[in-house]
Symmetry: C2
Subunit: 247 residues, 2 copies
C-alpha cells in the first residue's frame, strides 16, 4: 500500500470565509480526518485502537499556506508519517490545489494513550512497531512547531465552553480552539491580510461550562502568540497555545 494517503475535497459554501476562501478551521478538520483515514486504512486508526482501549491524541499542529482554495474549488490533501518515536509520531500533510500544485503544508505531532489509565503508550511496541513500516521521507518544507510563550496578563476575551464546542470525548474539540482563536482578530485583518502560518499546541483538555480566557501577545512580523487558560482549582491553567502569522 502506498505510504502517502491522498484524499479529495471541495471547498463548500459554508466552509469559506467572507473572502470566499476555505477557513483554516475547516482545513484543520479535513487534515485530522485524513490522518484518521490514512491510519485506519493501514490498521492503526481510532476504531481499531478503541477496541484495544487506545486512542490517538493530537499534541501539536502547524499549518502553513501559500493560498487557500476558493469556494467550489476542488483540492486534495496528502498525508504521510515522517517519524515515529517512543511517545510521539510526526505526521505531515500537503494541500494540493485543483491544478495539482502544492499550495501548503502542515505538520502534526500525535501521542497514543491508554484510555483507562490516560497514560501514553510506547509506539515502537504497539503492534510490533508496525507503524514504522509507513515512515516516508516525502519533503515537508515548513518549520516544525515551535515553543510558544505568552507574557500578557490581560484577558483579551473570555468565553464559556458550550454545547457546540464539545466532542464525543466530552472535551472542547481541537478545531473549535482554532476557530475561537481566529475570532480574536478583527475582520479587517482578514480583509487586508491572510493567515500564512497557524500553529497550536494542545496542553490540557477543557470541558463543558469551563470559562476560557484568551491572552494575546503581539510579536514581530505580523506574528501573534495566544494562550487559552481555564480556571482550575489552583488558579488558571493553560489549555492550549497558538501562534498566528498574518502576511
Amino acid at each position: 500500500m502506498n505510504k502517502i494517503g491522498n484524499y479529495r475535497f471541495v471547498a463548500e459554501p459554508f466552509h469559506v470565509d467572507f473572502t470566499g476562501r476555505l477557513t483554516l478551521g475547516v482545513l484543520g478538520n479535513h487534515l485530522l480526518n485524513c490522518a484518521g483515514f490514512h491510519a485506519t486504512e493501514r490498521g492503526f486508526g481510532m476504531a481499531t485502537l478503541n477496541e484495544d482501549n487506545y486512542t490517538w491524541v493530537l499534541s501539536r499542529l502547524a499549518i502553513e499556506m501559500d493560498e487557500m482554495p476558493r469556494q467550489y474549488e476542488d483540492f486534495s490533501v496528502q498525508t504521510w508519517v515522517e517519524n515515529v518515536y517512543r511517545l510521539f509520531t510526526d505526521r505531515n500533510f500537503a494541500v494540493v490545489d485543483k491544478d495539482g500544485r502544492r499550495i501548503g503544508y502542515a505538520r502534526s505531532v500525535w501521542a497514543m494513550i491508554n484510555m483507562s489509565t490516560r497514560r501514553p503508550v510506547d509506539l515502537l511496541e504497539m503492534h510490533g512497531g508496525s507503524i514504522t513500516d509507513y515512515i516516508c521521507d516525502e519533503p515537508c518544507p515548513i518549520e516544525k512547531p515551535s515553543r510558544i510563550k505568552v507574557k500578557s496578563t490581560e484577558t483579551a476575551c473570555t468565553l464559556r465552553a458550550r454545547y457546540s464546542d464539545i466532542d464525543v470525548n466530552g472535551h472542547v474539540n481541537s478545531i473549535r480552539y482554532i476557530e475561537h482563536i481566529l475570532d480574536l482578530f478583527p475582520l479587517d485583518f482578514y480583509r487586508t491580510r491572510r493567515v500564512r502560518r497557524f500553529e497550536i499546541a494542545y496542553v490540557a483538555e477543557s470541558y463543558y461550562g469551563d470559562l476560557l480566557s484568551f491572552y494575546i501577545d503581539e510579536e514581530e512580523d505580523g506574528r501573534y502568540a495566544v494562550e487559552i487558560r481555564k480556571k482550575g482549582t489552583e488558579g488558571e491553567e493553560p489549555v492550549c497555545r497558538a501562534s498566528v502569522t498574518f502576511v
Copy 2:
C-alpha cells in the same frame, strides 16, 4: 434526469456532538449543499444564477429527525422540489441511514433575488419557468414550517458576530444561527433528550460586529421559541426566529 437528487455523506468525528451523533448544524449544512448540487445539476444553481446576477435566498428551514447518524456512519440526503410559486419554491429532503431507512425529513422555502436591486424575482418567469419541470410529488411526512412568535422581553444571551460567523456575502451564515441557538440550551438537555424538530425563519441579515440578542420562550411539550434580534438604528429588529422541540 431524475427529479430526486441523492448525495452520500459520512458522519465525521468533528461533526458529531458529545453523544456521538451528527450535529444539527452539520446536517443543515449538508442539506443546503444538496440543494445547491441538485439545482446546479439542473441548470438553476448559484453559479449559473450569479452570472445572471441572481441568487437563491433561504427563507425557512424545518428539520425533523427520528434519529441522527452516529459517528463514522454513512448516510445520504435526497432532495427534490415540491412546489414552485411566483416568489417562493418549496424544496424537501429525506435523510436516509446506512441501511436505506428514512430517519428524517426536512422542508425548506427559498426565494430568488436580483443581487443589484435585492428584489425578488418571479420564479415562474425565470428561464421560462423551467424549474417547474422538476416538481415532484415525493412524500414528505412532516409539518410545514409554522409561524413562530416570541413574547419574552428578557435577553437570554447576547453575542457579537465575529469572523467565523461571516459568509462570503458578508452576512452571518444561516448555519451559524442554528449553532448559536442550540448553544442556548445546557448540555444536560442533550444528555437526556434530543432535538426532534428544529425550524428557523430567516427575517433579516446581520453583519460582522452586530450585537445579537437571544430571546427565548418555553412553550408546551418540550418546545422552545427563540428570536434573535440585532440593534438597529431604531431599536432592536428581528434577524431570525426558531422553534426547537426536544423529546
